[in-house]
Amino acid sequence: MIRNGQVTQRNLCEACARAKGVKVQPGPLAQALTQAVLVQGGAGAEGAAGPGAGAPVSAGALACGRCGLTYAQFRSTGMLGCAGCYEAFAGPLAPLVSRAHEGATHHVGKAPKRLGGAGQVEDPAGAGSVGPGKRVTRAAALFGSPEERRARIAVLKRQLAEAVAAEQYERAAQLRDELRRAGPEGAEGGSVSG
């Protein structure tokens, strides 16, 4: 685990380099974001025995039965190979997806008409109203479960210390903002569901 932790830190430096504008791996922002999220996900999975328990050791060997992509390949590019990858890598992917989307785990919104269409998943707050519904959704999305939050805060604090030590102030400011958003007050409640 400690060894994994060290690997994680080296990856982090690449993410930092990207944040500084050094092109480690040119590509869309989404890709860079996934990379950053992947790094956090690996570290988080070590601290909290969740759906990704054991993932750092075994997940890399996972492969999608449909397209053949391995989890290790996904980790290196941040790109999945086919729709089937979402099922094949469901375990290790879940915390990454949740983290990339502010704690959300379930889709809310449009659905193909052949599956019943948008009517079944309309947002409770609706487009026209600005009410408490939105705040609850946002808070829940931000804070997630207590364990997840604690693990995330620990990772963020470590990253912040590293960024400050490396004088990467822009990244440090981003991490500080993230930490603020992950703050403890009003954080009860689970993740968002459809």
């Binding site: 974001l33 449909r66 729709a83 785990t105 889709h107 449009k110 459809g194």
Partner: protein, 392 residues
């Protein structure tokens, strides 16, 4: 006429006119240049483009093309144009990129401003790269409105975007939603009830929608407050980018603000967050800053915009960055009444018309960097010939 010009998919008339999304129409157009909604969709039966072999890519391209061209997506009076992007010359791919009809990745160009590709086109030595560049991919877009464009085999099988002038996210979403419905009727999308639309990158999963606006914030830049907007939007999990997307600096004081997350919020909520909560504040902030600048620092602003006009009316060589930054100030001058004799929209269109590929298409031949700088300066002098300070 040489080949890069013979194979153009964007008509000459459109090149001369500029882009519809820069027309200055629409709500809050003083600040909001354009609104864009982009959906990512994948076919259920095929690997994502990055994982497709050449044969699978062609099959996806063919299937999508067939449905796209027969889906009746063009509004009345408009028509749908299809192009195999891999078969287009560098210059034409760059034209499509500059008009925001395709992404930088889809264009297959090294830099967003196309400088590497344009340089290659001019140097001769590197020009051996034939049409037929990169993997099979395509784009469909409507003319003359250019409101819809659909990239096939980008990061996802389909990237459907609607681009409109001014603040028009709701209208853009409605149009994208309807086009999506029309395609979905025949193309089976990869979709999971729990995760929504499945995308190659998990950061796009869910609604798989990116709603963005391009804002012109010259006053906030002059007052130094633009960083506050950056910080505030970042705190709200919004992405802030430049004129040409990620990694591009905010040249010309143009900033794109878009939603960052796509899972756990409906399209309606994303729309409301942006259009009703965030954007009105940013727009008001910029307009208030313009007003305050005029009231309290009028001579300073007048000096800034008139210097910019003087430079553009006198320069014999202009880089793209210099042109954009000076045009931004001239636009501010026109909108605040400090500069007269030129229409605001003529200035705004110059943001696009001074781009490298547009300059070359307008002139009708390939230009090296020096040639482009000359052409850019000539164009600005001609376009701003009637413009003059109003006297503060």
């Amino acid at each position: 006429m040489n080949e890069p010009f013979a194979m153009s998919v964007v008509p000459n008339e459109a090149i001369r006119r500029g882009a519809p999304w820069l027309s200055g129409a629409g709500a809050a157009a003083e600040v909001v240049i354009s609104s864009r909604v982009r959906l990512a969709r994948n076919l259920a039966g095929a690997p994502f483009p990055g994982r497709c072999n050449a044969e699978q890519r062609l099959a996806v391209l063919g299937a999508c093309r067939k449905e796209i061209v027969s889906a009746g997506l063009a509004a009345s009076g408009a028509r749908l144009t299809w192009a195999d992007v891999h078969g287009l010359p560098t210059l034409e791919r760059q034209v499509l990129l500059e008009r925001h009809l395709i992404s930088k990745e889809h264009a297959g160009l090294k830099q967003a401003d196309g400088s590497a590709a344009a340089g290659a086109g001019a140097s001769g030595a590197q020009q051996v790269k034939p049409p037929g560049v990169g993997p099979a991919r395509g784009v469909a877009f409507t003319l003359p409105d250019e409101s819809i464009s659909i990239m096939v085999n980008e990061e996802d099988h389909l990237r459907l975007q609607v681009l409109r002038p001014g603040l028009a996210l709701t209208e853009a979403w409605k149009q994208a939603d309807a086009a999506d419905d029309a395609l979905e009727a025949t193309l089976g999308y990869a979709y999971s009830p729990r995760l929504g639309y499945l995308t190659a990158c998990p950061t796009n999963v869910g609604c798989a929608v990116r709603m963005s606006v391009m804002l012109h914030l010259p006053a906030l830049r002059l007052t130094g407050d633009v960083e506050k907007v950056r910080r505030a939007t970042r705190d709200m999990a919004l992405a802030v980018r430049g004129f040409y997307g990620e990694n591009s600096e905010a040249a010309g004081d143009l900033f794109q603000i878009s939603n960052q997350t796509t899972l756990g919020k409906s399209e309606a909520v994303l729309l409301r967050d942006l259009e009703r909560e965030i954007l009105p504040e940013v727009i008001a902030y910029e307009l208030t800053s313009r007003k305050l600048l005029l009231e309290k620092r009028r001579r300073f602003v007048d000096d800034q915009v008139c210097r910019a006009l003087g430079l553009l009316r006198s320069a014999r060589l202009l880089t793209p960055e210099e042109a954009l930054s000076q045009l931004s100030l001239v636009r501010l001058g026109v909108l605040t009444g400090l500069i007269g004799g030129v229409e605001e929209q003529a200035v705004t269109q110059l943001f696009l018309l001074t781009q490298p590929a547009h300059l070359q298409r307008a002139i009708g031949r390939e230009l090296n960097q020096q040639g482009r700088r000359e052409a850019r300066a000539d164009l600005c002098r001609a376009a701003l010939a009637g413009a003059a300070p109003t006297g503060g």
